[in-house]
């Protein structure tokens, strides 16, 4: 069954606030093998002008992923999640996220289409801080393939 292309443009309610934890930033940075002092050392982050540890650019995906998943598992969308691979990922920041930020994520399905037998969904996540300012935007292209022939889920 193909995806319901009428879902293009649909938005989902904001997620519950997520507080970026100091140790979570360190844990994530270690997991990507990155010893950059701005991710680990408070004094180093403050010397760069930040109030706390800087979250690595790809960190916020751990938060947006959950919000996006809730949207793309919407039964009305008709995307077969068991066959989904991650096709593309993009981040844009107005400022870096730092430990202590409380963020919320709103997901919009920017495009929903079927191309050459594959269903493709582009999910945009608007990431807002506690003041309601948009600090980041992420785009995930998710592809449900007719056959599982590789790719990164």
């Amino acid at each position: 069954m193909a995806v319901n292309t009428e879902y293009a443009g649909r938005s989902y309610p904001a997620s519950a606030p997520y507080e970026i934890g100091l140790e979570k930033v360190r844990e994530f940075a270690t997991a990507i093998g990155d010893a950059n002092p701005a991710y680990h050392d408070l004094a180093a982050a403050r010397a760069l002008g930040y109030p706390s540890l800087v979250a690595p650019p790809t960190f916020v995906f751990t938060v947006t992923f959950a919000a996006t998943r809730a949207a793309i598992e919407d039964p009305g969308l008709g995307l077969d999640y068991s066959r989904v691979v991650h096709g593309e990922q993009r981040f844009a920041y107005t400022r870096p996220l730092v430990a202590g930020d409380r963020i919320t994520v709103s997901t919009t399905l920017e495009s929903v289409r079927s191309v050459a037998g594959n269903d493709m969904v582009t999910a945009r996540c608007d990431v807002l801080d506690e003041a309601g300012d948009q600090v980041a935007t992420t785009w995930s292209v998710l592809v449900a393939r007719g056959t599982a022939d590789g790719g990164n889920a």
């Binding site: 994530f28 997991a31 990155d34």
Partner: protein, 141 residues
């Protein structure tokens, strides 16, 4: 010492990076990112969905490759944009050597507001694993 906008030119190559991903790295990333898709730790499940073996999370590859930019610029908060396509999986065998990833990058465009566009190439096993990978970074004057 951070690179300065005025001192860099289009075509400037950033210091290359060689990384190694082992099964332990995949497990650690699964825990840190909360992405527990079994194709990143179970041979059985990976093969059942047609993969040759366990593969790295695309987001792990993307996260590691981004270091080519942040190591160079120093301040990771200087990254304004970062985007990739996942074109080929990084297969990680269950041995001590794991999978090598070679990452190179160069400045492709100098833009307004002290920003530069950087193209990133990530190669594993002789083939690129990320497509159209690029970052937009704001440099000191």
């Amino acid at each position: 010492m951070s690179p300065s906008y005025d001192a860099v030119e289009t075509g400037h190559e950033l210091p290359a990076l060689t990384l190694r991903l082992t099964r332990a790295d995949l497990i650690r990333y699964a825990g840190a990112s909360l992405d527990f898709n079994p194709i990143h730790y179970s041979d059985r499940v990976a093969r059942a969905v047609g993969l040759p073996d366990v593969i790295a999370h695309g987001m792990l590859t993307m996260g590691c490759a981004g270091r080519v930019v942040t190591d160079w610029v120093g301040d990771p908060g200087a990254v304004r944009e970062y985007g990739v396509r996942f074109t080929r999986p990084v297969v990680v065998p269950d041995d001590d050597d794991g999978a090598d990833l070679h990452v190179t990058a160069k400045i492709t465009e100098k833009l307004d507001d002290r920003c530069v566009r950087i193209a990133i190439t990530a190669v594993h096993g002789g083939a690129t694993v990320l497509g159209r990978a690029s970052a937009l970074v704001r440099l000191p004057a």
